[in-house]
Amino acid sequence: MAKKAKTSKKRKTSAKQRQRRWWSWRFIGKLALVGLVLSAAGLVYLDAYVRDRFDSHVWQLPARVYARPVELYPGRVLSRNDMLKLLELMRYRRAAGAPTPGSYTTDGNTLVIHTRGFRDSDGGEPSERLRVSLSGGRVSGLSGGDGDSVARLEPLQIGSIHPGHTEDRVFVPLDRVPPLLVQMLIATEDRDFYDHHGISPRGLARAMVANVKAGGLVQGGSTLTQQLVKNFWLTQDRTLARKLVEMPMAVLLELHYSKEQILEAYLNEVYLGQDGNRAIHGMGLGAQFYFGRPLEELEPHQLATLVALLKGPSYYDPRRNPERAKSRRDTVLRVARDEGALDDQAFQRYKERDLEVVPRGVSPLYAFPAFIDLVRRQLARDYPPEVLGEDGMRIHSTLDVLAQLASESALRDHLNRIDGSGDRLNGSVVVVAPSQGDVLALVSSRKPRDHGYNRALDAVRPIGSLVKPAVMLTALEQPKRYSLATPVPDEPISVSLPNGTTWTPQNFSGESHGPIPMLDALVHSRNQATVQLGMDLGPGKVVKTLDQLGVKRKVPAYPSILLGSINMTPFEVAMWYQPLATGGFATPLRSITDVLDKNGEPLARYPVETREVLDSGPAFLIQWAMQQVINDGTGRGARKVLPADLRVAGKTGTSDEYRDAWFAGFSGNHLAVVWVGRDNNQSARVTGATGALPVWSQLMASLPQTSLPEAPPPGVEMVWMDPAGDKTSGEGCAGARLYPMLEASIPEKSDGCGTVHKAGKGVVDWFKGLFN
């Protein structure tokens, strides 16, 4: 019994055991099945996910902004120094024989420049070797590949526009990636890349051995494919779930795509550093960000630095941690040699080289934030943010790098002179090529690299006497009543204002000058005479003139506007001075000329537009009068700086209590507006002539200038007028002065002195006009 019982017990136990085993097997089986189904479903899902995202992946390619390409042609004003400055900015390297694109060599006054080539709306330029001779401050000779008389250097990239998001990259197709970079990459990051199927047990094992040896985590062992998956689809946090999907995704990726496709995606996706809130992605942008050059132009030690960064872009940041970066770079070079990608001689040579990264501050990519801001605003009118952020458009802008640098130093030099402490005054400069309305330069601060308040576009300040040409012009459009010789009383004047108060404007000097020719009211900027004239004309008429010249802002017809209590930005002033500079043709100011797609095909043009807003006669007269401002008036300080034979015109402006100092003026080919003042609107204690004019003069003197036209247009004559301004006179007669006069203004009476002016011709022309 006992035995029975025993056996029965035994049976019982084994049955129990059996029961338990059977139960657990079933459980495991079920679990496996569920797991299998789930992972199959997961795989199917992952597979679809991977393919979908890879196929439809949109590279975020921000729009890139380029400066105006440098045109080279015989006769162009360009000093050897400026040429070299440009080449340096564009990171051309000096190399005997200029062997590769992006290099040059000098031979006395002749430079051989191997250009990089670029696309433009007109097709652009191929990369070619140019011989450029420079003498006497000009291009004296040019010969290039196609024997043409005109050549261009590729435009300097001055910024990129990535609204909303923060990824930036320059896409480089695999066939343009230097093979050495690929070899280095594979040698250091994934030796089995061409043999594995997404994951590499061998690599993993190697990494583990290395980690054990080092007593810590020194190698990750993930393949390039896994790294791509990580960069491409997964967040950067190291969770187990992420690790779990990373491997199957890598395998799936390898299943569907070639090694080349994966490599290209990797090279363009990989994260290489941070620039403020801008993430640097891809080798193309990495090359620019760290070396200021296209990827194709990097030398082996520079390529190695980029590969070194993959281990940890901030840990191995060559700018912040140069020693660490260099040691890692040398490791990359050594591995490249060991793997046969570099011969030993080259290895020895390149490991001696410095890192050679460009300092962050000097990159032209960040150099002109104020101008980029203008481009961004003009683009935003026509393109939605996602297009600007993704489509890789190339924006050809109007920025002239030399004009920009000259403007920056003119402002900085003068402000340093009058405000050495550097914390009181600031200013801005707008430079325009008036005939096409191209904005050549925009400076919004004496520290032009600083982002932030764009004084050129946003500082809305009273323009003071800058308004006076508009008052004169209003008068000149009534030639029967007014000419530049018409006497205007410069006397104390009281104007009753609608609010019941009385306005008694004073002259700057505190003195009144009695009746003066209208010309002198402008030349010496007489307030009382201007108000007298303006009140005779009616402020409403002056507002109309401003409107005609292109002032968009609503200007109320108050008497105080006659002395410029109108608030405008420097850019707005440039807009309405532009027609004064061109003899009466209004041209919208543009900062963009062409928009190309990422392949360099033209997408849109911003063509020159022009509209006649002033007749040639009054336009010539006001220009001539503004020339006298510089020859004899408040702007004469410029004469000390500018060539004596250069005809330029302009006007000073100073607002109440010296809060704002202005100068706006132009030559035949440059219009520049300068504002100096304080951000807090306190007194700047400088006038237009002392605060702004010296900036303008230095700037204009450093740019190639052409004169304003000297010959009067049809319908305008130079006439000697008597001092009272109501009779013609002759040269050498007492008090007689020579004025350009519209025919309708020329009085019939003569004071009978000297040779009679050429009235006869005027009459003939008048008769002739009847028949024309």
Binding site: S121, D122, P607, E612, S616, V763, N772
Partner: protein
């Protein structure tokens, strides 16, 4: 036609004013061409390329070439004329008119050339739906031609 009366008036005017300046002799005017306007300027080669581009229907390229030429020769009436023609072809008559007016302002003293530019203004105005303006411009052209006849 008005040649006679104009001469008479010239003489009368001379007598009245006692002016010693003779009216300009009406000699044959040299025709205005791209070559006379841009002789020796590198802008000329860009103008040629602009012409080629336009023939191939590459309007953006033509515009870019012409504007580049204009930065080299900013006072060339001819280049503004070419830009005006291009703009007209591109279907922007308002733009064309402004450019043609600019060409007129810069035009050398040549009646036939100026008459051509007034015709261009007339065409641009007609396309903007301004028949009166077009008429006025055409009359300016005609009177310039008559003067030369």
């Amino acid at each position: 036609m008005p040649q006679g009366p104009v001469r008479l008036i010239f003489l009368a005017a001379l007598l009245v004013s006692g002016c010693s300046v003779m009216p300009p002799a009406e000699e044959a005017q040299t025709p205005v061409t791209a070559d006379t306007e841009l002789a020796g300027s590198p802008a000329l080669s860009l103008l040629e390329r602009a012409d080629q581009a336009r023939d191939q229907g590459r309007m953006a390229a033509a515009g870019r070439y012409l504007e580049r030429a204009l930065t080299m020769a900013p006072n060339s009436s001819w280049l503004y004329r070419e830009l005006a023609l291009l703009r007209l072809e591109e279907g922007d008559p308002a733009g064309a008119e402004g450019l043609a007016r600019r060409a007129l302002r810069l035009a050398p003293d040549n009646d036939a050339y100026r008459a051509d530019l007034w015709e261009l203004v007339a065409a641009a105005r007609a396309e903007q739906g301004d028949p009166d303006g077009a008429d006025a411009a055409r009359k300016r052209a005609e009177s310039l031609r008559r003067d030369r006849a």
